[in-house]
Symmetry: C2
């Protein structure tokens, strides 16, 4: 897509102000006619839609000016700053969710260019989060930004807030995508975080400055969080959490969907467990596993956790063979152990003594048995 000329940009601004985020009619008109054509079609005298009425009233130059005065810019498809991964939203397959296609543009407040989100990770979850969930969200977000990837979330209370704060504590970039205008500090509990993002990174919205958060705008916003990022980590989500909607979008857009497990009795984890159980989300426990899933092949490979090598692993084959036949509880005589280990007594005897010196076995009046030390647990 080539960079929009000034007329196109103003047409997009007008459409952004006049239509709802995610509005399918607007998106379809733009896809068919381009932004200028879409505005012209809607301004024809014979149309009397709401979009028509609103478009007639918009002053796009004034919109841009007022936005610029509070440090907000408008980023449109084709702009250098446009996050091209969002173009996946144009794939016809996702239309069936009834909320469609590309946003006509994004309103951005904050110095970070949106191109940096190309390698970002979404960390989202319930508003009614547990302390456990918030701890894990903070930890994962911290690990993700330490690896150089920005964390995207929705600035809601609970998990979103913990994700932003975890990223900020780790000194990394984090971006909020809002359902309201990017100038609004909503929810008020997180006003300090949003103010921080305004001055250090970016707050993004499809809704123009001043817009209030409404339910359809939250749903439209979720598709942007999923679309902007390489993958979405669901930290806690009850069975009717909006975060599950973000996960569904991520799935439709072929992004990684990851879920953090929790105690099975916790309602806040129920929605996440369900997605893992059905195989639409991959279980992740910490940032390294997230990075492995969203990274390019070979980057950020997680080592499968292994127990530390045990002293037993360093024994010779004969020592291991004899040791394996020393009883756990009731001592056995040397000939019975030799017998069980299929070894001669003249080999078994010095082997047992060596094993005793190494602390593996003990000699009691009734015979040999395993020493009581954790390395011998079977």
């Amino acid at each position: 897509m080539t960079a929009p000329d000034e007329t196109e940009r103003l047409a997009r601004v007008a459409l952004s102000r006049a239509s709802e985020p995610g509005d399918l009619t607007t998106a379809s008109l733009v896809a068919q006619l381009g932004p200028v054509g879409a505005v012209q079609r809607q301004l024809e005298p014979k149309t009397d839609s709401l979009l028509h009425v609103r478009l007639a009233a918009v002053d796009p130059e004034g919109e841009l000016e007022r936005a610029a005065r509070v440090g907000i810019r408008f980023v449109a498809p084709g702009d250098d700053e446009w996050p091209v991964q969002l173009d996946d939203l144009e794939a016809g397959e996702v239309e069936h969710l009834g909320m469609g296609l590309l946003p006509v543009g994004l309103w951005v407040r904050g110095p970070m260019p949106l191109t940096r989100l190309r390698e970002s990770v979404a960390v989202v979850g319930s508003r009614s989060a547990t302390t456990y969930g918030c701890d894990v969200a903070r930890s994962i977000a911290g690990g993700v930004v330490r690896a150089g990837l920005p964390v995207v979330s929705g600035a809601a209370v609970g998990i979103d807030d913990a994700a932003h704060r975890g990223a900020l504590s780790a000194g990394g970039p984090t971006v909020a995508v809002l359902a309201c205008g990017p100038d609004r500090a909503y929810p008020v509990q997180n006003a300090d975080v949003l103010r921080h993002l305004w001055s250090t990174s970016a707050v993004v919205s499809e809704a123009p400055p001043g817009s209030a958060p409404t339910r359809p705008r939250f749903l439209a916003r979720n598709r942007l969080i999923a679309g902007l990022t390489r993958g979405t980590v669901l930290v806690e989500a009850a069975v009717r959490s909006g975060a599950l909607n973000t996960a569904t979008w991520a799935e439709l857009l072929s992004r990684q969907v990851m879920g953090v497990p929790g105690p099975v009795g916790s309602a806040a984890s129920q929605g996440v467990h369900e997605r893992i159980r059905l195989g639409t989300a991959t279980l992740v426990s910490h940032a390294a596993e997230v990075l492995e899933l969203v990274g390019a092949t070979g980057e950020h490979l997680v080592e499968v956790p292994r127990a530390p090598e045990r002293p037993r692993d360093r024994l010779s084959a004969v020592e291991q063979q004899v040791l394996e036949h020393v009883p756990v509880v009731s001592p056995a005589r040397i000939d019975s152990i030799a017998d069980a280990a299929n070894a001669h007594v003249r080999i078994t005897d010095p082997t047992l003594r060596r094993l005793r010196d190494l602390g593996f076995v003990e000699l009691l009046p009734a015979g040999w048995r395993l020493a009581r030390e954790p390395g011998n647990a079977v």
Copy 2:
């Protein structure tokens, strides 16, 4: 397989006493020559193996008599009581674990016939279990036996013990498969449970009465737990837990492998999370999900958890449409809401009043906004 005649049965008893559980040589000889042929071959004067020496010393009639005196019977392949699902162990594919094939027979103490294990479920896990893990093991075992399926476990401390106790509390059958002889109360902490199983259900072992628990016997035992059951539920397992070995056997035998998640910081859940993450275990949260996975098609179907219907769901289309455009925080005037909802003011006005009567919205001096009640959470 036809029922073994007396000569065959005695040959199996002799082999059971003379060889180690899971011994590949014995199993191969029996597979090739039958139990009687295997004994004859080993008793030939030219062989001088350990098996030869031991076989020559065994008195199988005496073994059976002494076992019967403490209420222990010997169950062999072909017997009516033989758990035929174990025959899956003969499939060549599982041989590569180096512990092979069918046991020559099982020693059983307790009144329950082993045929009842056809529909059983294994619940296993770490010895070093957490309170959380033990609670979940008890709860899942209880739910499984309430559905009429026996719970199989290994009578170890920790998760195994919790599984047996959970099954017993729910009044259901539970069977222990031991690494030592079925007459031994090992570990001593669980002696009361084992005594209970001896008198009410069954304790099973491949090792003859009196045998001590050794490491290779634990590993051989794990294949029986996996093979006897329709599926194995891993409740907690650190990265080097023996329970993971049982899960691997279940996988090799095409049984269901299920894992219970826990907090990501818990070392006791790390091995389980790893299996779920790699897709070799299915996440389960409670007994109903276990029953769905091990049940025949259509049995025990789990309802996907759904949130309760919200009052919002009962509104008319117009009411929902208007409601969706009422701001969450800053009140909006009626014409702005009508505008956003794409509805006439003369419809929006009575709709908003009805929504207020229903408690969804409130009218402030500056206009309408959502009422502060949980049903409106977006």
